[in-house]
């Protein structure tokens, strides 16, 4: 084998490896973008749910005690720090269930003026928390799997991005709203 051939073969191998690594890195980069978007939409869904619950609490369509329960839970969720966030959002889900699963809650609310629209908004907000959290956690597990690959770890393909964390809360909707 001549030395030119050896150089050629080595050269081809280097190019192929480089192409493969850059493809892997590109794929990981794409996953990071997707994860960021999923996180954004989860944040937006949670914010929307808090806002709708606060609006319901302030609507004067409910009795004062119920309003207070909802307002307190939504406020806790809004002011929670990153450490307590999962707890506070779970508590909001529980408060919402306690309220919305009262007998004839939906009927009564939809009979009052503006109540039906608010109820629909609440349904949508609750469902979107469930959806966006599933999609976010899905993105987390896919990204984790890609970051855990040998190549990605050795070459630090993920750069300085943090290892993604699942968002675990109780987001079960009230029984009457559940579509699942």
């Amino acid at each position: 084998m001549t030395s030119t051939m050896i150089v050629l073969i080595v050269g081809i191998l280097v190019v192929l490896t480089a192409v493969y690594i850059s493809w892997r890195a590109g794929r990981l980069d794409r996953l990071h973008i997707r994860l960021e978007l999923a996180q954004e939409s989860l944040g937006a869904a949670l914010m929307r749910r808090r806002a709708v619950v606060l609006e319901l609490a302030g609507s004067r369509l409910l009795d004062p005690a119920t309003s207070l329960v909802l307002a307190a839970a939504a406020h806790e969720a809004r002011s929670a720090g990153p450490e307590e966030r999962e707890h506070a959002e779970s508590d909001l889900s529980r408060a919402l269930r306690a309220v919305a699963d009262q007998e004839r809650f939906r009927e009564k609310l939809s009979e009052s003026p503006g109540g039906r629209a608010l109820l629909e908004e609440l349904d949508g907000a609750v469902a979107k928390v469930v959806y966006s959290r599933r999609f976010y956690n899905n993105a987390v597990s896919v990204t984790r799997a890609a970051q855990d690959r040998w190549l990605a770890r050795t070459l630090r393909l993920a750069g300085y991005t943090e290892y993604p964390q699942f968002f675990e809360i109780d987001d079960n909707p009230p029984a009457a709203m559940a579509t699942e």
Binding site: R27, R30, L31, R34, E36, L37, A38, E40, S41, A44, A45, G124, A127, K128, V130, Y131, S132, R134, F135, N137, N138, A139, S141, V142, A145, A146, T179, E180
Partner: protein, 376 residues
């Protein structure tokens, strides 16, 4: 919202997935979304205005059965063009693990992509071999929907991650009006069953046992059975003297199925288990039939704990016979249950299901996500 929907199976052959897509598209259009569906179809096929053909489908054996699907350069180019020119806010791919237009669309597009998984699949060699390829396609999905627990379970077991569950819908309006089958009609003494006759969990043997008791006491009572399977299995379980009071229709067309629902006084759903969501139950309710169902959790939920239909103790023919007799004796109660059922079934109407699907679209199309674009 501009929605692009990808159908993996040929448009001119009836099937569950195709029907699902057509119902979804129409419900979305009714809610004033713009919809474009791409499906395998020959250029001279007659298609609804919202469907684009992606070339003739080819029958291929895949995963144990023969399916008519589209693939190859021509289809790939057409899918790519459709994605490029569509200007979609969201792309909705059905069955992205099937080697058909779904996979092609996954390759050709980027941006907000949602996928619906219909079939449950077992760990097959085909999937194991193709896994790296399928995995990279799955990585592009921003949202995943499963239509049943079984579909969700097999996806999660094979590929990990999570999905949301949005069950199939029923187009209620399609069922509400129909003529009873010729020679049939609610006469106060007709029971009905629809489903596979030879599948234990559909519970037909329990109904037949109950019918024996019931028919011995009541000379007028008849039983109408529709669904695939062998009628011999049915008649073997019925004593000779009662056989002329049992009619087996076998497989029926969609139109005759609806007429069958309208031909009975009490529609019986004796399913013993499973049924994350009883589509047959919902169809019967939409047809205005009085329903008598086993008290498995799924049915209990659909029937609002007996508000919208009567329940009997699961796997208990004696309980079934008792409840059926009580219903046959009480026409007013039957009418009341049927009326309640029409209200309860609205929750399963396609308009409601489509609203949930739109919520998924809205979840993945947050401000930063952009539109669907061609992936070069």
């Amino acid at each position: 919202m501009r929605v692009g929907i990808v159908c993996p199976y040929t448009w001119d052959v009836p099937g569950g997935v195709k029907q699902h897509i057509d119902d979804l598209a129409q419900a979305l259009i009714a809610q004033e979304h713009e919809v474009s569906v791409i499906a395998p179809a020959a250029d001279d096929d007659e298609l609804p205005p919202y469907v684009t053909g992606a070339g003739r489908a080819i029958p291929v054996p895949y995963n144990g059965s023969v399916a008519r699907m589209s693939f190859g350069f021509l289809s790939a180019a057409r899918v790519r063009r459709w994605v490029r020119t569509g200007g979609f806010d969201v792309l909705h791919i059905h069955e992205p693990l099937i080697p058909s237009l779904g996979v092609l669309a996954c390759w050709a597009a980027k941006g907000p992509i949602v996928a619906t998984f219909h079939a449950s699949f077992s760990r097959s060699r085909a999937i194991a071999v193709a896994e790296p390829l399928l995995r990279s396609a799955l990585e592009k999905l921003s949202g995943r929907i499963a239509v049943s627990d079984a579909a969700r379970k097999s996806l999660v077991e094979q590929f990990g991650g999570d999905t949301v569950l949005i069950p199939n819908g029923v187009t209620v309006a399609r069922y509400t009006e129909a003529e009873p089958l010729d020679g049939w009609g609610p006469d106060g003494a007709t029971l009905g069953f629809l489903g596979r006759m030879d599948e234990e969990r559909k519970g037909l043997p329990i109904l037949l046992d109950a019918f024996r008791t019931l028919a011995a006491e009541r000379p007028g009572v008849k039983l109408l059975i529709a669904g695939p399977g062998d009628e011999k299995d049915v008649f073997e379980r019925v004593p000779k003297e009662l056989r002329d009071r049992v009619t087996v229709l076998g497989m029926v067309s969609e139109a005759d199925k609806i007429r069958a629902y309208h031909s009975v006084d009490v529609f019986v759903a004796p399913n013993t288990r499973g049924e994350s969501f009883g589509i047959v139950l919902a169809e019967a309710m939409a047809s205005g039939a009085t329903v008598l169902a086993s008290d498995i959790p799924a049915f209990r939920k659909v029937l609002g704990d007996g508000q919208a239909g009567a329940l009997f103790a699961n796997r208990d023919p004696a309980s079934l016979a008792r409840e059926a007799a009580a219903l046959l004796d009480a026409p007013e109660r039957r009418a009341k249950l049927a009326a309640e059922a029409l209200v309860a079934v609205r929750k399963y109407d396609w308009s409601t299901v489509a609203r949930d699907v739109v919520r998924v679209y809205e979840t993945v199309t947050t401000s930063g996500a952009g539109r669907v674009e061609e992936d070069l």
